[in-house]
Symmetry: C2
Subunit: 248 residues, 2 copies
DNA sequence: TAGTGGTCTAGACCACATA
DNA sequence: ATGTGGTCTAGACCACTAG
């Protein structure tokens, strides 16, 4: 039988048990069987539930941990990953660092307004052009000095009742806020970076001359199933900060 | 990668067997028991050599594969990772992409010269200021159009006999060349990115007006033991290209 | 057909956390 | 003392590759 000219992927002839278990666990996480931060069932309990050995459950959980969907803690249990915990996980996606130190930024809200998705935003968020969106503008400051201006675009359908007051009342990270208030979990993201000259308005906010080269960081963040749920554009002054990345 | 010697680490009370096996295998790789691209001994052979079970060897090898030190191929064996193979591994560290497509760049050599390590280069490469270095300047082009100017600084002690002629005669990637000609393997790297205005010389090479915002990508690449062996500064025009990054 | 890595199991024991 | 995840073992079988 001649092999059909497949598009690169031969479609795996079978799917290992532990990956099927992993899929079932992802569904349980997605539907909220356990809440963020909570401990999920133990390996032995899951093994008996699914009728497989503890070792197979372990491989599934290790894969989930590699995806940052759960966190394993020896002696305590396996926990649903969350953006609300300590600084480490709270700023998991932030790649901007001080040139010298390791200080963490504070967020200052500038504006929250409603609008309609442009063609480009619609494409990135996989909604229809004109669909309602919420745009949050905020500044990240290190030591009181503004460094990044973020424009964060969210599909309004998923963030009903998002107001400036609520956002301001929340102390922790924005992703933690989205998680606890709207049940929207940011699982991964991709960023595209360009160098652009500062427009006058941004230059004013960041305290640099207009035309100063800035990093333009475009981010699309995804939730379960790779569905995009946030588009963000950050403009970053690199006078005393830089984008940090590790290549494995 | 091998875990960086963190401060604040309470020093683990014990070291699992499979990590000790991993360390032994790293030493074997470092000393060249198997050459890049070659298959290493099979799991069963290694298990009997070290007097542990196949499962323990497997965990060690899986960890090495996660660090990209080896590549596992079902039915064939476990192979020493290399930068000389297909495009995928050859450009493993390149994060610059075309805005539209997925074309790969070509390299054009501008200059190879010898010099002495400045204070900053000495600090980054962990050599003494004034130590001899080789600086390679080259351009990366997409479809014949220059996009990146790279200044690549190497400790001369590790790259004896590196000449422009040899570099030009080599078709593949530069890291593949370093690997086969000098036995220096680039295992991982970190990059720091800023936005800077194009200086007149660079602007001329890239065909953009002086002052145009460019990405300045500083990279330090490491070999075994986390020893830095390359410092590279790339200046990248983002008119039709961008830096791409995935956040897990 | 033989050899390789990949999956799955079952059980023992270890390290860690909590009560 | 108990329960959790982490390590280690031994063996069976499966999927893939090559001669």
């Amino acid at each position: 039988m001649t092999k059909p000219a497949l598009s690169a992927e031969p479609a795996p002839s079978f799917r290992p048990l532990y990956l099927q278990i992993k899929d079932l666990l992802v569904r349980s996480l997605e539907t909220g069987e356990w809440r963020p931060g909570e401990a999920i069932a133990s390996e032995l309990v899951l093994a008996s539930r699914f009728g497989v050995s503890q070792g197979t459950v372990r491989k599934a959980l290790d894969a989930l941990a590699a995806d940052h969907l759960v966190v394993r803690r020896q002696g305590k249990g396996t926990f649903v990953a969350t953006h609300t915990e300590e600084a480490q996980s709270s700023f998991r996606f932030l790649r901007i660092r001080q040139d010298g130190g390791s200080e963490l930024p504070a967020s200052r809200l500038l504006d929250v307004r409603r609008g309609k998705a442009s063609a480009e935003v619609a494409r990135l968020l996989e909604v229809k052009p004109g669909d309602p969106v919420v745009v949050v503008r905020r500044v990240l400051e290190w030591g009181g000095r503004p460094v990044i201006v973020d424009d964060i675009t969210l599909p309004a359908a998923l963030f009903r009742g998002l107001t400036r007051a609520k956002l301001e009342s929340y102390a922790g990270s924005m992703y933690g806020f989205f998680e606890t208030q709207f049940g929207v979990r940011m699982l991964n993201a991709q960023e595209r970076i360009k160098a652009v000259p500062a427009d006058p308005a941004t230059a004013g906010v960041l305290g640099v001359p207009a035309g100063t080269p800035l990093l333009a960081v475009d981010r699309v963040a995804h939730t379960y199933g790779g569905r995009p749920v946030e588009y963000r554009r950050g403009l970053c002054s690199t006078a005393a900060h830089h984008y940090f990345n590790v290549l494995g």
